[in-house]
């Protein structure tokens, strides 16, 4: 099934991807963010806060935003 994956880290990836039916938020996170802990990110499904066991549905919009993003001067 197809979901919209938005990773607001680094280059800001945003595209549709195929995932297996029954994929949870936590599984998708570990597939998409290789080096990082879920606790360090704001994960939203359809723009709403979620929990790691939530099972994704067709056409869901998942966004991952780091809790800490360093500004500069």
């Amino acid at each position: 099934m197809r979901v919209l994956m938005i990773n607001n880290d680094g280059a800001g990836f945003a595209d549709y991807i195929d995932v297996e039916p029954g994929t949870t938020v936590e599984q998708l996170f570990s597939q998409q963010v290789k080096s990082g802990k879920a606790v360090d990110y704001l994960i939203r499904v359809n723009r709403l806060p979620t929990h790691r066991e939530q099972v994704l549905q067709e056409s869901d919009r998942i966004s991952i935003t780091a809790r800490k993003i360093e500004g500069a001067r």
Partner: protein, 339 residues
């Protein structure tokens, strides 16, 4: 089913119209003409070289042609990929998307507001607290008609607690209402290009909630200004002196320039030459061998201060005159004897 929020609906409709204008239709095509012309030029050169029987030159030019042809293929592939992507752009916003974005913003932030006249979408954060420093809430103001320009937003402190040394710095990464995005620059650009307003505001809020001590306009440590150790006043960074000996911060009024080495020192690390009364650092003063008071190098003669030198000279003079007197007396005696 929840009733749609009429205010949000109106805002979403206006934003959708505006984003449509700023995002454009995305159908413009740019052909790789430069690469094509290079191929054309090299093909003509090969033909010319062959016609004149310059086979070595023709072979060399052919190699260059192969490279140029590959560049042309790459450019065409890139144009094709861009075209496919724009056709399948997951973020070409719809009015419904705009509504959902605003609805999410409303639940995530303290307040949102869209000013139709100025075309500004304003979102208010909660109080931003960094390492126990409360900077108050911020308003993130997106100028929707400037999306596509560099930094089309401002970050305004609503209950500002600016740095003691610079009233325009309201956050370690905000100066003159402008956020230095740092690591967030690219994702912010991408989010705005794709009309992902919710992501944009979320990224900005996360930057505001993060302190990067290695690249701040004013560090949290110095937020309330540097205090002069001697008089206690707050010192602006460009008015700050540091004692060259004990390294404490000083205002310019409390730092003394050593008349010997010209370095700056605090009151405790300077002394006055007992003779000329100029300020010197301890390293530029020496003790008089006789009285042990401290003096500058210029005021010492053979490691003795002027007073001690004077006293010594006077003593010498006295002792020599005493000696003269004694000799004279003795001489008189001798004279008496000899006569």
């Amino acid at each position: 089913m929840t009733k749609p929020d009429r205010r949000l609906e109106r805002m979403a409709r206006r934003l959708f119209e505006l984003l449509g204008e700023t995002q454009g239709a995305g159908l413009s095509v740019e052909l790789p003409m430069t690469a094509w012309k290079e191929c054309e030029r090299l093909a003509k050169l090969i033909a010319k070289a062959e016609a004149r029987g310059w086979l070595a030159a023709a072979r060399r030019t052919h190699q260059r042609f192969v490279t140029a042809q590959q560049t042309l293929i790459d450019r065409l592939s890139a144009a094709d990929w861009a075209f496919q992507s724009s056709e399948d752009d997951p973020h070409r916003s719809t009015a419904a998307d705009c509504y959902q974005e605003l609805q999410a913003l409303q639940s995530e932030f303290v307040s949102i507001d869209y000013d139709r006249q100025t075309r500004k979408l304003k979102v208010t954060t909660e109080e931003i607290v960094l390492d126990d420093l409360n900077l108050g809430p911020f308003e993130i103001v997106l100028e929707c008609n400037r999306i596509g320009d560099a930094s089309p937003f401002q970050v305004v402190a609503l209950d500002a607690n600016p740095a003691g040394t610079d009233s325009e710095t309201t956050h370690p990464h905000v100066q003159n209402d402008t956020l230095c995005e740092g690591d967030g620059r690219v994702p912010i650009e991408r989010a705005l290009q794709q009309g992902r307003l919710y992501d944009f505001f979320l990224i900005v809020r996360q930057i505001l909630g993060t302190y990067n001590s290695s690249s701040a306009y004013v560090s949290i440590h110095d937020w309330h200004g540097t205090r002069c150790r001697d008089c206690g006043t707050t010192i602006a960074d460009d008015d700050r002196d540091v004692c060259s000996r004990c390294e404490t911060d000083l205002c310019s009024d409390c730092s003394y320039v050593c008349s010997g080495c010209s370095e700056r020192f605090c009151h405790e690390c300077t002394e006055v030459c007992e003779a000329c009364h100029e300020y010197y650092c301890q390293a530029c003063l020496q003790s008089c061998d006789k009285c042990e008071f401290t003096f500058c190098e210029d005021c010492l003669t053979d490691e003795k201060c002027p007073k001690c030198v004077e006293k010594e000279e006077a003593d010498e003079k006295n002792s020599s005159s005493e000696a003269d007197t004694q000799v004279h007396t003795e001489c008189l005696g001798e004279a008496a004897l000899s006569s």
